[in-house]
């Protein structure tokens, strides 16, 4: 009797999960599985599929564009993750305090996250326009002689993209930190004050440790998202100038939909998958060492 009741409950639960799972199965899981198979094949989407074994993977180290994309992706991740983390934490702490109009600031800072990415990319390109943009105008009036070319220069294109990405992502992670800050008990601060701790001490010894679960989540999401970057780069620089902002997902897109090498493209995708998986596993391993769930 009891078992039948439980079974019924389970079935109801599954039936609610089913629509979502079906969509996931058809549009995500099956294509992912298919791409594992494709990585061992040579296929242009029209002619016959040919089995080539590990050839696609073996060709990767010799492919200059792949190597450049890999390095660029790491550059992007290393640039975006820590800076976004620091910015969102800083802003969250600032806006958690008693501040006039803090709701207005919160909304303003969250706005970039909901704004259309294409519009954001176009506006950033205008702001950093090498000859007509306000940033270079400001630098020029400050007496800078050699103005950076921003997204049109090999050295500055990636920093420009990283900057745009931080601006766009910070708001979202700030909200997560704000929510987490609500959960830090007031009495901890009161106790610290009695012991004579200053603001910095309180931040270091109470806020940061209490926020570690949130930080763990933020680092995780940021890392995975940064490895997947594509859209911002597609609109802002098109992977250029030259190959200066060519990242892995861009290489995947190019191989698949411009060169029609679906097998090769899948091989790059799997390499990306393995990298992200490895980074994620390492982060979970490290979790015990620095995250405290009190």
């Amino acid at each position: 009797m009891r078992n039948r009741h439980l079974l019924k409950n389970d079935l109801i639960a599954y039936s609610f999960l089913l629509p979502n799972f079906l969509g996931f199965l058809i549009f995500t899981l099956v294509p992912i599985g298919f791409s594992f198979v494709l990585a061992l094949m040579e296929w242009d989407g029209a002619n016959e599929i040919k089995f080539v074994g590990w050839d696609n993977f073996l060709a990767l180290p010799g492919d200059e564009t792949f190597r450049i994309s890999l390095v660029n992706t790491l550059y992007y991740v290393v640039g975006v993750v820590p800076l976004t983390l620091v910015c969102s934490l800083g802003l969250a702490v600032l806006l958690n305090g008693k501040l006039r109009g803090r709701n207005v600031f919160r909304s303003i800072l969250f706005f970039p996250y909901v704004a259309s990415l294409v519009a954001v990319a176009v506006i950033w390109n205008m702001i950093f326009h090498p000859t007509m943009g306000p940033v270079n105008f400001l630098l020029y009036s400050l007496g800078v002689q050699k103005l950076p070319g921003w997204s049109a220069s090999v050295d500055w294109a990636m920093p420009t993209v990283i900057l745009a990405s931080i601006w766009k992502g910070t708001g979202y992670f700030m909200i997560i930190y704000l929510a987490a800050l609500q959960g830090v008990p007031k009495y901890l601060y009161e106790a610290a004050e009695i012991d004579g701790a200053n603001a910095w001490k309180k931040f270091r010894k109470i806020t940061v440790p209490m926020l570690t679960p949130a930080t763990f989540f933020v680092v995780m999401m940021l890392t995975i998202n940064s490895f997947k970057v594509f859209d911002l780069i597609y609109v802002m620089t098109g992977g250029g100038p030259g190959r200066a902002t060519n990242v892995l997902v861009y290489a995947i897109y190019n191989a698949a939909f411009i060169q029609f090498q679906f097998g090769y493209s899948s091989a790059i995708a799997i390499v990306l998958f393995v990298i992200v998986l490895a980074v994620t596993l390492v982060q979970f391993r490290m979790e015990r060492k620095w995250v405290s769930y009190v």
Partner: protein, 423 residues
């Protein structure tokens, strides 16, 4: 007090029913051909050609699948790989054509050409450039050439004589410098290079000594040097600004910011149209594309735009009939009448083109479209797609000043060699 009154259900039903049946009866006795095109709104010849065909063949109706021009080939290729059964495919460029031929997505047309006795000689050799192993997978309808547009008002203001139909690149560069003037946002630039690789590279292959797919790009140096110098002298706008600002060549020409513009003949119809709407008001003219010393005037580069039948089409005969009309002599006249340069170019067609209201009336402009030799912008090659990508990337690096001309050309040489060597 107003109350909301629902429309009686029967009426709604009747309405819906009549709409549905109207739709089906219209479709039942008509052949509907689906045609993939880019930028339908800005393509002046599309509607007149379709209308002319539909008038001749009232049982056929042509519906359009419109794709933005920048992503045309990418999107089209993906659609076709996904089994899209649109009947007629516009072929925008050679890399796109080569890709679709490699993937066997286009219907071979030779048997139909032979069956219907289509006269390929009328295309004055253009069809040879897209013939693959004696088979033709598309029929050209436009074959545009590169010419030099200029703004007469700006030349008058600068007191410089207009360009002529026999201009060397050196003379052109000197002229560009003379006609440049002003500072900041008021600056008039002598000439203009759109961000395409072709704007700089086409003059390098005009003499016919070097193909654009090759294993040594050193021969491109003189023209890269020329354009980089013009850019440094502010005789032309700076590449990085144009690229980041996504600035189209048409705007700067209409706004009297550039005195000359080397560009394809497709731009003629647009300039005429913009004069009609009042967006452009300047006096303008065209002359032949400048040429290197020792090369005959009238030697230029060209592109082919063609029409193909989708291999997956379920109405290939009807599609072929439309393609035949579109690319044939009748289509050519309509194309010329809206200001485009058709692939079939006889005296009649050229006269229609030059007599068009809005076409510059001076003798030089009327003569400008006559050519001696036309070199294909990009030849048919199995790897043309990947090579074009390499050339584009290195072009971008040279023009943004990220590398010197020599470094950029050396990289081009190294990378193209490598790409050609791969299986």
């Amino acid at each position: 007090m107003k109350t909301f009154r629902p429309i009686p259900g029967a009426l709604v039903l009747a309405l819906v029913f009549s709409l549905v049946t109207a739709g089906t009866t219209a479709a039942a006795d008509k052949t509907v051909l689906k045609m993939v095109v880019w930028d339908a709104a800005n393509t002046a010849y599309l509607q007149p050609l379709i209308q002319a065909y539909q008038e001749k063949h009232p049982q056929v109706s042509v519906s359009i699948i419109d794709i933005p021009p920048n992503e045309y080939q990418d999107k089209l290729s993906i659609m076709l790989s996904g089994g899209e059964d649109a009947d007629i495919i516009s072929v925008k460029d050679i890399p796109g054509y080569a890709g679709m031929v490699n993937r066997k997505q286009l219907e071979p047309l030779m048997p139909l050409i032979k069956r219907d006795k289509v006269n390929l000689d009328a295309y004055s050799g253009v069809t040879n450039d897209i013939t693959v192993n004696n088979e033709l997978f598309a029929l050209p309808f436009r074959s545009d050439i590169w010419i030099l547009y200029y703004n007469k008002d700006l030349f008058d203001k600068a007191g410089v004589a207009y360009p002529t139909n026999d201009l060397t690149w050196d003379q052109y560069a000197t002229m560009a410098q003379k006609v440049s003037s002003g500072f900041g946002t008021d600056r008039v630039y002598g000439s203009h290079y759109h961000t395409w690789r072709s704007t700089v590279e086409l003059p390098t292959v005009q003499d016919g000594k070097h193909p654009i797919i090759t294993t040594d790009y050193g021969f491109m140096k003189p023209y890269y040097d020329m354009v980089v110098k013009m850019q440094n002298d502010k005789t032309v706008m700076d590449f990085a600004s144009l690229k980041v600002g996504n600035i189209h060549y048409s705007g700067v020409f209409y706004n009297n910011q550039v005195a000359m513009l080397p560009m394809g003949s497709w731009f003629i119809s647009t300039v005429i149209a913009k004069h009609k709407t009042g967006e452009a008001t300047m006096n303008w003219g065209i002359v032949k594309y400048p040429h290197p010393v020792g090369v005959k005037a009238g030697t230029t580069a060209g592109t082919i735009t063609s029409m193909a039948v989708n291999k997956a089409s379920k109405q290939k005969d009807a599609a072929w009939d439309f393609v035949k009309f579109f690319c044939g002599p009748e289509g050519a006249k309509i194309l010329a009448s809206v200001g485009n340069l058709p692939a079939i170019r006889d005296k009649d067609v050229m006269k229609i083109l030059a007599d068009r209201p809005g076409f510059p009336t001076d003798a030089n402009s009327r003569e400008a479209l006559n050519t001696t030799t036309v070199r294909l912008e990009l030849p048919m090659h199995e790897k043309v797609g990947i090579i074009e990508r390499i050339l584009n990337e290195e072009h971008e690096l040279i023009m943004t000043g990220s590398v010197t001309v020599d470094q950029g050309l050396a990289e081009m040489t190294r990378r193209v060699k490598e790409a050609l060597g791969q299986k």
